[in-house]
Structures are given as structure tokens and as C-alpha cells.
Subunit: 298 residues, 2 copies
Amino acid sequence: VAPGQSTAPAVLIHGGAGPLGPRLRDHEAEITLVLNEVLAGARDALERGTDALSVAIRCVEQLEDCELFNAGLGSALCADGTVEMSAAAMRGSDRAAGAVAGVRTVRNPIRAAELILGGDQVLLIGPAADRHAREHGIATQPNDAFVTRRARARLALGTGSEDLTHGTVGAVCLDAAGLLAAATSTGGISGQPPGRVGDSPLIGAGTWADDRVAVSCTGDGEAFIRAGAAARIAGLVDAGRPLAQAAAAALDEVGRLGGRGGLIAVDAGGEPALQLSSEAMPRGCWSAGNEPVVRVSA
Amino acid sequence: VAPGQSTAPAVLIHGGAGPLGPRLRDHEAEITLVLNEVLAGARDALERGTDALSVAIRCVEQLEDCELFNAGLGSALCADGTVEMSAAAMRGSDRAAGAVAGVRTVRNPIRAAELILGGDQVLLIGPAADRHAREHGIATQPNDAFVTRRARARLALGTGSEDLTHGTVGAVCLDAAGLLAAATSTGGISGQPPGRVGDSPLIGAGTWADDRVAVSCTGDGEAFIRAGAAARIAGLVDAGRPLAQAAAAALDEVGRLGGRGGLIAVDAGGEPALQLSSEAMPRGCWSAGNEPVVRVSA
């Protein structure tokens, strides 16, 4: 794409970065199918003129609804066997942002984040965030209902012993009007202490959108926080660096801090970036004039 | 200071940015006294060779212990009349970071953040963070014990109706070894919904330290989050911009998003920065070879 020539609209999605273990390999066909469906829905919506924020949130909601990903219904379990989820959404045009951390009953945490976006707060945590969502008509269910057989098996295997113990889902969008948005959602790390929050719901760490770039990160959350990963990319793009360079610099920084992961990003010109320092990251990309691309491993 | 000529050690502290109302004016002498005491203690410690992180945390602990500031014992009340506190600390040399959000029983939230720093997590929230602190010997007290007459009166007056409804305390340090650290602590906004978290405990928003700069912010937390304020300063300093310029650019960005506030920062050369877009910010600064300076209004 020549500089200045927009390829809007465009959308990228991810289903979390981590090792390429048996679970990902066993379900590669199913994961590929889901990613293709989500991408097709996003493309249709963008071609109909739907705004970037709505599309990014809808992508994340669909990924939350798929048990194969560590977010929403597929969330990993904390060490005590319960589920705690976090999510964030940000609209680039006015930097409106909404996030929740440590929610335990919201079926689609990204909808709770969307609800907050544009209000007086940016981040609500814990039971107050669950209550706020419920009172505004967001669907909830008991924490037990999130505890799947798959997640219990994952917890029993121990942290880091296999793939999908980490994980996040995310989407970034450039809409037909040239506006950007990002959304991220996670069930945390399998076996994490209750109360632990990673980078996903933190604006500037795991999620960011401004009028130049939208970013959603996944991987070793603490390293992404300490790298200020998403804000770092935004700062570099703002300083005129090409998106791919900026994204690589952020992942390098995460690596210097001992972390691995991946990220998706798109700039205002429609230039997509997919970067990965982990073995695998289920992901998909579509931009106007191109065929959708879906991949699982690196 | 000539470029390259370090003025290490150096320390800056703040007691929150906001309007210059009757409460600040009535207590200006007392506030000035406390700031001078904290600054003198920090100077002594730095001259004895104490590391930047320990000094920054000790400064914040002392400010948390003073009821005049909105953090620790002086915390504002949420809309439901309870206290929720947040804090973060970061060491520049290795970017180790620790933070807590929404704690309700920890006497000095900055000590709970210090405890987390260097472990596997960066951010713990809610009751799990209180429990973690208590189990590791950090002093706690019932939430009721934080509810002061002063805070109740503040809540009764309504949000934004006077000074000290917002507020934060913070410190940044450069130690004799040339290492940087930052620490921030807050009781949130008087009348805030329970569960609301601002920029103070968020690495890259209200608190940051790397090997070039340490930053602690205060003000309209949501705007600082949406500006990625602290990470923005770090990115600009990393790109070679003078600290004062970088700090001004971050506050400008906060202003474009409709927010006001202030920040303290110090770079690896010992150059201090104090920026303020609010009417008042109790603050103090000392660097080697200079007299301590303490101010309350702009």
C-alpha cells in the first residue's frame, strides 16, 4: 500500500498468544473456522458502514462466546477454581475508553466495558463492575456457569504446562469513515491468584486506540504492562515511525523484560500489523481489496 | 544544570492537584510543614545512599499518614461512604512494578504495592489484594477506621464543590547511584462510585519509572489514563526530548481530553519537572546542591 493510500476498512482479530501445544493443534480446524466466521461478520459490517468500535466489540463478543478461547465463556480458572475476567474497549476518534477488571458474572465482559466507555469513568473493578453491568441490562450468570470441564482440566495440569493457559482475545478496526477502535478481553492466566489483573483491561498496556493507530496485545501480561506496550506503539507511530517498526519495538521491549506474546494493530491508513514472539497466536486479518487471512501458528 | 552533569540525588513529592479552595488555604501552613518534613527525611536518606525506590515509597507512606492528603488515612469516601484506595510503585533500573487497586483495609496501600513489586504479578485488586497484604504482615485496619470526620464532610459537600475532593500523593526519586523510582497513592474522588479506579495505580498512566525518567501524576484520572500520560512522557524522553517539554506535552494531551492536573518527574540527569494545569498542587523538590523548595498553589 502506498503511503497515504487508505485501504479502509480493515479488521484484525486474535485469540491469544502462547505456546503451540496439543490443545491448539487438536482444535486448529475449529479455531480456524471460528476466526473465519468472526472475520466475515466484521467485513460485512464494515462494508455496510458500521463504525469501528461496534465492529471491534462484536468481534470480541463472538470470541468470548467460543469456549476455545480464554475469555468470556472459555475463561481460565484462578487458583481457587473461580473465574475472573477483564476487558477494555477504546475508540480512537475521541479516545473514549471503558474497561472492567475482575468481573465474575458478566457473560460478555467486553459489553460491560462498552457500557462504561463514554461515561465519567474509564475503569470499574470487582463486584461493583458486575453490579453496574447487571443494572444496565448486560447479561450475567453465576460464576459457576463459567467453570467449564476444559478449564478445570487446564487448571489441574498446572500453570504453563500447556497452551491456552494464557490467552486473550482482541480486535482492532479501521472503519469506512477512517476511524479506529480496539477491544480486548481475557480470562487471565490459568492458576493465577484471585485479584491478579494483566494488561488486557489497562489502557496503554494491552489496549489502545487514537486517531493514528489501534492496538490489542496478548501474552505475558505483566511484561506488557511494564513495557507500556500499547502506548509505546502509539507514541512511536505518533513520532512518524512505520507501524510494523513500532510494533516490533514494543515486542522487543516486552522481550527485554522477559516476556513473550503477540499483538495486532492497524493504522489510519489501513496498514495492518501482526507481531508475534510466542509460538502461536490464532489470528485473522481482512482489509478492503484483499482476501481474509487466518492463521494459528507463527 | 549542564547536560550530562548529574545533580543526583534528587526527590520530588506532591500532594495532589486540584482547585485552590478554602481547605487548602486554611491548611497551607500545616501542609507546607508536612511537605518540608517529608522532603527533609528523603534528603537525609538519599544522602546516606538509600535507594530511590525505598525513598519514594517512604515519602508516599508519610503522605498517606497525613489526613490532609487524599490517600491512606486521609482518603476520600466513595458514594456509599466507604473508602477504596489504590497505589503503585515502580523501580526504573529493571522496571519492576507493583500496584493495588480498590483495597479497603491496608493502612498504607503503597506498602501493599511495594510487596507485589518484584513478584510474578504487577496488579492485584480488591479483597484479594487486602488479603495478600495482610498475610505478608502489612498493617490493616477496618474500613470504618479510614472514615474521617473531614472525609465525611467532604462527601456531604458533593463532588467537585471544593478542593481536596480529588487528590493523590506521589514521589519520584533519583538516588546517589543514579537509579530512578516512582510511587503514587490515592483515595480516589470524593463521591466516586465504588469500584472506580483512576490513573494512580496504572503503570504508564499515573505512575512510571525506567532508566531515563520517573513520573507520578495527579488530577482528572480518566483523562490521564486516556492520554497514556506517564508512558507518553517516557516515550518522548526516550526519543530525546527534554523532560520539561515531554511533561508539558503530556499535560497538553490531558487538557485536550478535557482534564486538568499536575505531575512531578525527574530524569536520570537529576533534572526535575513540576507541571501543573490545575490551580494548586502541594509539592516539594530537593536536588543535590540546591535548597529544598515547597509550594502549594500554582
